[in-house]
C-alpha cells in the first residue's frame, strides 16, 4: 500500500488537479468549479422550469395538478424528439431546418398507408414510384457513403413499403423512420460531399417536403385518433405495474453501471468515483425516480368515472431515446468523433477521422428522429394535417436544444439539453392555456422572451470562460 501511496502522491504533484478518488465532496466541488468556470450545464433550463412552474401555479391552480403535469410529456414529446435529432447536427455546427417538414411528410405517407390499407393503390402511381425510386437512390447513396446503419434502416423501410406491411400502424411508423433516414442520407450527401451550406439545403427541403406531404395526403388530412398504437404514443400511459418495471429497470441499469465502473476502475488503479459517491448519487436519482413513479401511478383523472394512471408512453419514449443518444455520444468512438468534427474539423480529418461519414450519419439521425417526431406530432394533434411539421415546429425544437445549452456553433451540447429545453417550451402554451382570457399572442411573445433569456445566460457564462 505504501508504494501506491507514494506513486499517487508523486502523480498528484504533477497533475495536481486530477482527483484520483472522487467522493461526494469532490463531486460537489467539481460541479461548483464548472459553474464558476462558465459551464452552467443543465442549471439554466432547470431554473427555467422552476420559475415557469412557480409563475403558472400562481396564474392557475390547475397548473400543478397531476392531471395537467401528466399531459406535459405527450404535448412536448415531438419537440424533444426532433430536438434530440437536431443536437447531432448542431454539434457539427450545421443546422437542419427541414427536420419538422421531413417528419410531416413521413407521417403523411405512414398515415395514408394505414388509412387506405394499400399505399400502392391509394397514391398516384407517379407519387408511389417516386417514393420508391427515392428510397432506392438513397439506399444506393448510403451504401456508397458506407453509412451501413443508415442503409439498413432505409432498406427496412423499403421492404415494409414493398411488402405492403405498412397497413399496420407499427410497420407504418417503421417505414416513416426509413423515409426519414433516406432524407438524411440525401441531405448529408449534399452538405458533406457537394458542400452546399446546410442552411440552404435544408431550407430548400423545408419547402419541398411540405409539397410532398400534400402529394402523400392527396390534399386531405387524415385522422390518426382511430389508429390505436399511433394515438397511444402521446395519449396513453403504462399500467402502474409496467410503470414500476420501467422505473426499476432504468434505475437498476444506472446504479449497476456506475457501481461496476467504479469498482473496476478502482481495481485497475484508474481515476474513479468512490463507492460513497456512487451510493449517494444513485440514492438521490433513485429517490427522484421512485417519487415520480408514485406520483404518476396515482389516479389523476379529473372526473370520478375514468381512471388515468401510470407513466405516459411519451415520457418513456423520450427518456429511452435520450439515454440511447447520450450513450452514443459520450461512450462510443463515433460520438467522440462527432464532437471532434464539430470542434475542429481539420484536426479531426488529420487524426484520420472520416469527417464526411460523421457528417452524413448526423444528418441521417436528425432526419430519422425528425420523422419519428412527426409521428408524435400527428399523434398529439390527433391527425396528419395538411401543414404537419411546418410553421414553428422546427424552430421550437431548435429553441429547445438551445435553451438546454447546446451551441449553434458546434462542439458543445448534450441530448439532455433537448429534453429539458422541450419541457421549458411546452410549459408555456400549457400554462397560458389554463388562463382562458389570455390570447394566443402572449404565448409567442413569452416563448421568445424565454429563449432570449436562455441565450443571454449562455452568452454571459461563455464570456466569463473567455476571460478565464
Amino acid at each position: 500500500m505504501s508504494t501506491t501511496t507514494g506513486s499517487t502522491a508523486e502523480r498528484a504533484s504533477e497533475f495536481s488537479l486530477d482527483v484520483e478518488r472522487r467522493d461526494v465532496r469532490g463531486a460537489i466541488r467539481e460541479w461548483i468549479d464548472r459553474l464558476r468556470g462558465g459551464d452552467p450545464g443543465a442549471l439554466p433550463s432547470i431554473l427555467g422550469i422552476v420559475v415557469l412552474g412557480i409563475i403558472f401555479s400562481q396564474v392557475s391552480s390547475r397548473f400543478l395538478t397531476s392531471y395537467n403535469i401528466g399531459n406535459l410529456p405527450g404535448q412536448g414529446a415531438y419537440i424533444a424528439v426532433i430536438g434530440l435529432g437536431l443536437v447531432f447536427v448542431l454539434l457539427l455546427g450545421e443546422i437542419d431546418l427541414s427536420a419538422g417538414t421531413t417528419g410531416g411528410m413521413a407521417a403523411g405517407f405512414a398515415a395514408r398507408a394505414v388509412f387506405s390499407g394499400d399505399l400502392h393503390g391509394a397514391l398516384d402511381a407517379g407519387v408511389y414510384w417516386s417514393l420508391l425510386g427515392f428510397l432506392v437512390a438513397a439506399l444506393a447513396l448510403a451504401v456508397w457513403l458506407r453509412t451501413w446503419s443508415g442503409a439498413a434502416v432505409i432498406l427496412i423501410g423499403l421492404v415494409v413499403i414493398l411488402a405492403n406491411l405498412d397497413k399496420h400502424v407499427f410497420w407504418a411508423i417503421i417505414a416513416a423512420v426509413g423515409i426519414g433516414a433516406a432524407v438524411g442520407v440525401f441531405t448529408g450527401f449534399l452538405v458533406a460531399k457537394v458542400r452546399i451550406p446546410s442552411f440552404v439545403v435544408t431550407l430548400a427541403l423545408f419547402l419541398a417536403w411540405q409539397g410532398v406531404l400534400l402529394f402523400a395526403l392527396n390534399s386531405q388530412s387524415i385522422n390518426t385518433s382511430n389508429f390505436d398504437l399511433w394515438n397511444g404514443l402521446t395519449q396513453k400511459n403504462l399500467s402502474p405495474t409496467w410503470s414500476w418495471v420501467f422505473t426499476i429497470v432504468v434505475l437498476a441499469l444506472y446504479v449497476g453501471y456506475t457501481l461496476i465502473k467504479s469498482i473496476t476502475a478502482q481495481r485497475a488503479g484508474l481515476a474513479a468515483d468512490t463507492l460513497q459517491l456512487v451510493v449517494v448519487r444513485g440514492g438521490v436519482v433513485s429517490a427522484i425516480g421512485i417519487v415520480l413513479t408514485v406520483l404518476a401511478n396515482r389516479n389523476r383523472s379529473s372526473n370520478q368515472y375514468g381512471r388515468i394512471e401510470g407513466i405516459p408512453w411519451a415520457a418513456v419514449i423520450v427518456v429511452v431515446l435520450m439515454i440511447a443518444c447520450s450513450i452514443g455520444l459520450s461512450k462510443t468512438q463515433w460520438g467522440r468523433h462527432l464532437y471532434a468534427t464539430g470542434g475542429n474539423a481539420e484536426a479531426a480529418r488529420r487524426a484520420g477521422i472520416d469527417v464526411d461519414h460523421v457528417r452524413v450519419s448526423a444528418f441521417i439521425l436528425c432526419s430519422s428522429f425528425g420523422a419519428f417526431g412527426g409521428i408524435l406530432l400527428a399523434s398529439q394533434s390527433f391527425s396528419v394535417s395538411l401543414n404537419l411539421g411546418a410553421g414553428n415546429i422546427l424552430l421550437f425544437s431548435v429553441a429547445a436544444a438551445v435553451i438546454g445549452g447546446t451551441s449553434l456553433f458546434g462542439g458543445r451540447g448534450k441530448p439532455r439539453d433537448a429534453v429539458l429545453g422541450a419541457l421549458v417550451i411546452v410549459m408555456i402554451p400549457n400554462g397560458l392555456g389554463l388562463k382562458a382570457n389570455l390570447g394566443p399572442q402572449y404565448q409567442q411573445v413569452i416563448t421568445g422572451v424565454v429563449l432570449l433569456v436562455a441565450a443571454s445566460v449562455d452568452a454571459i457564462s461563455r464570456r466569463r470562460t473567455a476571460k478565464g
Binding site: 497533475f15 488537479l17 484508474l270 474513479a272 462510443t332 470542434g343 488529420r350 487524426a351 484520420g352
Partner: protein, 258 residues
C-alpha cells in the same frame, strides 16, 4: 555515428512546370535533433508534406530503418512511427487533453470508450516528457495557453511509440518562458532515442537545440552541417545565398537556380 533511421535520397518534386525539390538528400538520426532550415519558398513544407505522404513525389528513394518504403499515403508514415506536429497544432478546442491525444485512435473495451485507461496513458506520456505545466489531463484544450497546447500536441506524437517526430515551427507563437519549455521538450524527445526534425526560422532555437542542420536553398540542399562546428552567421548565409565559404552549393548551381 549511428545509422540514420530515416534516409531520403535524390527526392524530386514538381508542381506542374515548377520544379520545387531538386535531388534532395535528407537524413534523420535517432537520438539527434536535425534542424531543417531555409527561407520562405525553399521547400521545407513541401519536403515535410512529401514525407507525410500528403504530396507524393516524382522520384527518389526513402529508407526507414534500413528498409525501402514508399510514402504515397498519409497512413504509411503513421504505421512506420513517423509523427507530425503541424504549426496549427490540429487540436479540437472542445475536447479535453486526453480526448485530443487519443483522437482517431481511441482505446475501446467491449466497443465502448475506455476513458480511464486513456487518461492514465495520457498522464504517463506527459510524465515521461517531465511536463509540469499541465495540471490535469481532463482540462479542455480551449482553456490552455499556447505553450500548453504545443506540449499537448507534442505529447500526442509521443504517445504512439513514435520513432521520428517532425515539429513545424513549434516556438513561433510562444513567449520566452514557454519557448524554453518547448525547447527542453524537443531535446528530451531526442534524448529518449527518437529522431527529431525541427523546422524553424529562429536561429537561436536551432543553434541551441539542434545537433545537425540541413539548409535548403531554392529546393536544393545547400549543406548539411554539424551545429557545433558551424556558426549562426554561416547558416544564415547558407539560407540566404546557398553557400558560405567552402560550404554549400557550387556557384554554378546557385546561378542556375536563380
Amino acid at each position: 555515428m549511428s545509422e540514420p533511421i530515416l534516409e531520403i535520397s535524390k527526392l524530386n518534386k514538381s508542381f506542374g512546370p515548377v520544379h520545387v525539390l531538386h535531388d534532395v538528400d535528407f537524413k534523420v538520426y535517432p537520438g539527434e535533433v536535425t534542424a531543417l532550415v531555409g527561407d520562405n519558398g525553399a521547400g521545407k513544407s513541401t519536403l515535410v508534406k512529401c514525407i507525410a505522404g500528403i504530396n507524393g513525389y516524382e522520384s527518389g528513394e526513402v529508407t526507414f530503418e534500413g528498409k525501402r518504403v514508399v510514402l504515397d499515403d498519409p497512413r504509411v508514415p503513421t504505421r512506420l512511427g513517423i509523427e507530425f506536429v503541424y504549426q496549427d497544432l490540429a487540436l479540437a478546442d472542445n475536447l479535453d487533453i486526453t480526448q485530443n491525444m487519443f483522437l482517431g485512435r481511441e482505446i475501446r473495451r467491449f466497443g465502448f470508450l475506455a476513458d480511464g485507461e486513456m487518461e492514465r496513458k495520457a498522464r504517463e506520456a506527459l510524465a515521461s516528457l517531465s511536463v509540469r505545466t499541465v495540471s490535469s489531463v481532463r482540462q479542455v484544450v480551449a482553456s490552455l495557453s499556447g505553450g500548453q497546447r504545443q506540449t499537448v500536441a507534442i505529447a500526442k506524437a509521443v504517445l504512439w511509440d513514435s520513432k521520428v517526430v517532425f515539429l513545424d515551427e513549434p516556438t513561433a507563437a510562444l513567449g520566452v518562458a514557454q519557448t524554453r519549455q518547448v525547447l527542453d521538450l524537443v531535446r528530451r524527445l531526442a534524448d529518449q532515442g527518437r529522431g527529431v526534425v525541427l523546422i524553424s526560422h529562429n536561429m537561436n532555437d536551432v543553434m541551441e537545440v539542434a545537433d545537425r542542420v540541413c539548409a535548403l536553398y531554392l529546393g536544393r540542399v545547400a549543406a548539411e552541417v554539424s551545429a557545433k562546428e558551424t556558426s549562426t552567421a554561416q547558416i544564415v548565409e547558407l539560407i540566404t545565398s546557398g553557400r558560405s565559404g567552402d560550404l554549400g552549393l557550387a556557384p554554378a548551381t546557385v546561378d542556375k537556380s536563380i
